[in-house]
Structures are given as structure tokens and as C-alpha cells.
């Protein structure tokens, strides 16, 4: 196909995923604005993700430090999910017969994998047993699909080894100082989508729920991302 375009004087560049189209356009604009100071996304993203791995998840630190942070983040996610959901429901508690989980996923430094680093329902205890999932549009994982598509993705799940029947993925993309997709947040329910309170909410209340959950993360992680994006001389930890 590239050859056919070439004959017409057009150089065709193919992106891997739908989400890449938006990033490509952003990079073209950024390159034009930045001129010689332009830094490609792979370098920016690697530095930011390295910084977030160290400061948010304590990756590469001692086992004790990693485990303490895991417990703190798990509690934080659980309380955040409960409190934001309760506020969204007008002060009512979420249904007692439905359980939820919130997970924070982050891309690897090369952008080819994604890892669920923090979960509201559990805490990792061993960094070496955590599985990084390949980024592929054919992936069954909602988190991967959300990152590939760059938009909200929701799916019913049916697995004998998982209690989660419905999963919704929200891409996490920082806007400042440059656009940078860094991962995804997933909300899971023990009920199928057709029975979950998550799908019973009207569109605008759902938007408020997502705003609240993403906002709590963005307010802190986006400034950290900015610190690492603007500090080009920061050395990677490994």
C-alpha cells in the first residue's frame, strides 16, 4: 500500500493503534512549535515513566519499601473508589451486593507493555512476580484495549478464575506540558454490565464519576510527570 501512495507522491506512515493517530498529530504540532528543542515521545515517556515508577510505586527500592507503598496505594484506591462513588450517588452507599475494584495501570518505558501496579483489592508483595502485558490490539485485557483505542472501553468478562464480571477502562493521558499517554485506570464489578450500578448511572453522572476518579489521580501524578518531563538531565534509575 505504501508503494501505491508513493507513486502519487505521498509518503504513508502507518500507526499501530487508533490512539496513536491523536498522538502523531500532537507530535507533529509539538515538533513545529519546539523546533530544535523537540524531544521525541519515546524519550519523554521513558523519563516520565521511570520517574513515576520510582516515586509512585517505589519500583527498584527495597522489598519493604515496595510493600509498604503497595499497601498505602491499595488503601488509597479503595477509599477513593468508595468515596467518589458515594458522592456520585448523591451520598448513598454503593449496592452492598456488588463489589468493585479500581486498578492503576502504567505503560512500560518502551510503550510495548502495561502493568497493573496498584489495585484496590490487593497489594503486590513481590516485584518479580508481577506480569507485564504486551500492548496489542488483539489483547483480551480491557486495560490494553483502552490504551490501544485511546478512549473508554468496557467489556463483560467471563472467566472461571476471576470474580470480575465487568470491566471499564479509562485511558490516563497527561496534557501538560506535552501530551503523554501513560496508562489506564480500570473499574471492575462483580456483576455483569447489565446488572451493575456502573451502567445504571446516566451518562452525565457516569462522567462525574470518571472525572472524580481520574481527577484524584491527575491532580498528583500530572505534576510529577511535569517535573520529570521538564528535567531532561535526570538519569534513569536503571
Amino acid at each position: 500500500m505504501s508503494k501505491r501512495w508513493e507513486r502519487l507522491g505521498v509518503e504513508a506512515l502507518f500507526v499501530d493503534h487508533f490512539a496513536d493517530a491523536a498522538q502523531l498529530l500532537h507530535e507533529i504540532g509539538l515538533r513545529r512549535r519546539s523546533q530544535e528543542s523537540y524531544e521525541p515521545i519515546d524519550a519523554r515517556a521513558a523519563r516520565v515513566i521511570d520517574g513515576l515508577e520510582r516515586t509512585v510505586f517505589e519500583i527498584g527500592r527495597s522489598d519493604d519499601e515496595f510493600c509498604r507503598r503497595q499497601v498505602a496505594l491499595s488503601r488509597w484506591l479503595r477509599t477513593t473508589l468508595h468515596d467518589v462513588m458515594r458522592a456520585t450517588l448523591g451520598g448513598s452507599d454503593p449496592p452492598a451486593d456488588e463489589r468493585f475494584a479500581l486498578t492503576l495501570w502504567m505503560l512500560g518505558r518502551t510503550g510495548t507493555t502495561i502493568t497493573g501496579w496498584a489495585h484496590s483489592d490487593r497489594a503486590h508483595q513481590d516485584q518479580t512476580t508481577i506480569e507485564a502485558l504486551p500492548i496489542s490490539s488483539a489483547s483480551e485485557w480491557v486495560a490494553v484495549q483502552a490504551v490501544c483505542q485511546g478512549v473508554l472501553v468496557e467489556r463483560d468478562r467471563s472467566s472461571p478464575v476471576s470474580r470480575w464480571r465487568y470491566v471499564r477502562g479509562l485511558p490516563v493521558i497527561f496534557d501538560s506540558p506535552t501530551r503523554l499517554p501513560i496508562g489506564c485506570m480500570t473499574i471492575s464489578s462483580t456483576k455483569p454490565g447489565s446488572e451493575s450500578v456502573l451502567t445504571a448511572l446516566d451518562a452525565s453522572r457516569t462522567a462525574v464519576l470518571h472525572d472524580g476518579l481520574l481527577g484524584a489521580v491527575y491532580d498528583v501524578l500530572s505534576p510529577i510527570s511535569t517535573l520529570f518531563q521538564t528535567a531532561r538531565d535526570v538519569r534513569h534509575s536503571r
Binding site: 477509599t79 478512549v151 493521558i173 462525574v208 472524580g212
Partner: protein, 74 residues
């Protein structure tokens, strides 16, 4: 640069409306939350602010050890 034009072609996006919205809004996902009553919106914002304050406190020392100071909340 004259004589060069760049175009982006998107083939059969799975969620066409949202992709177009994403592009049209300057590459960011924006949610329309204007139809929820202001009291609920304000309550969710307060909760999110409180939760981000707690996350900031959890991460502050690690950010400092990396050589930075985490900006205080706006």
C-alpha cells in the same frame, strides 16, 4: 515546507464518535458533566480533592528523594 501536506486517515475506528471528539478537542478526552446537579458535582470535586491531597502526602517523600518538590495543591 511549501508543497507538502500532511493528512491523517483513520480507518473504521471502533468508537467513531469518541475518536472524533478526542481529535476535535485537542487530543484530550473531555467528559460532558454539565447535566448533573451542581451539588453532586461539587461533592465529587470535594471528595476528589481530599483524595488527591492524601495521595500527595503518600508520595511527597519519594518525590523529594528523587530531587524534586511536589507542588502544593492549587
Amino acid at each position: 515546507m511549501s508543497g507538502i501536506r500532511a493528512s491523517v486517515l483513520i480507518m473504521a475506528p471502533p468508537q467513531h464518535g469518541e475518536i472524533v471528539k478526542q481529535l476535535g478537542d485537542g487530543w484530550a478526552i473531555r467528559w460532558d458533566s454539565t447535566h448533573v446537579d451542581p451539588e453532586t458535582q461539587a461533592a465529587v470535586r470535594r471528595v476528589a480533592k481530599a483524595r488527591s491531597d492524601e495521595l500527595r502526602a503518600i508520595l511527597a517523600d519519594s518525590v523529594r528523594e528523587a530531587g524534586f518538590e511536589l507542588p502544593t495543591a492549587a
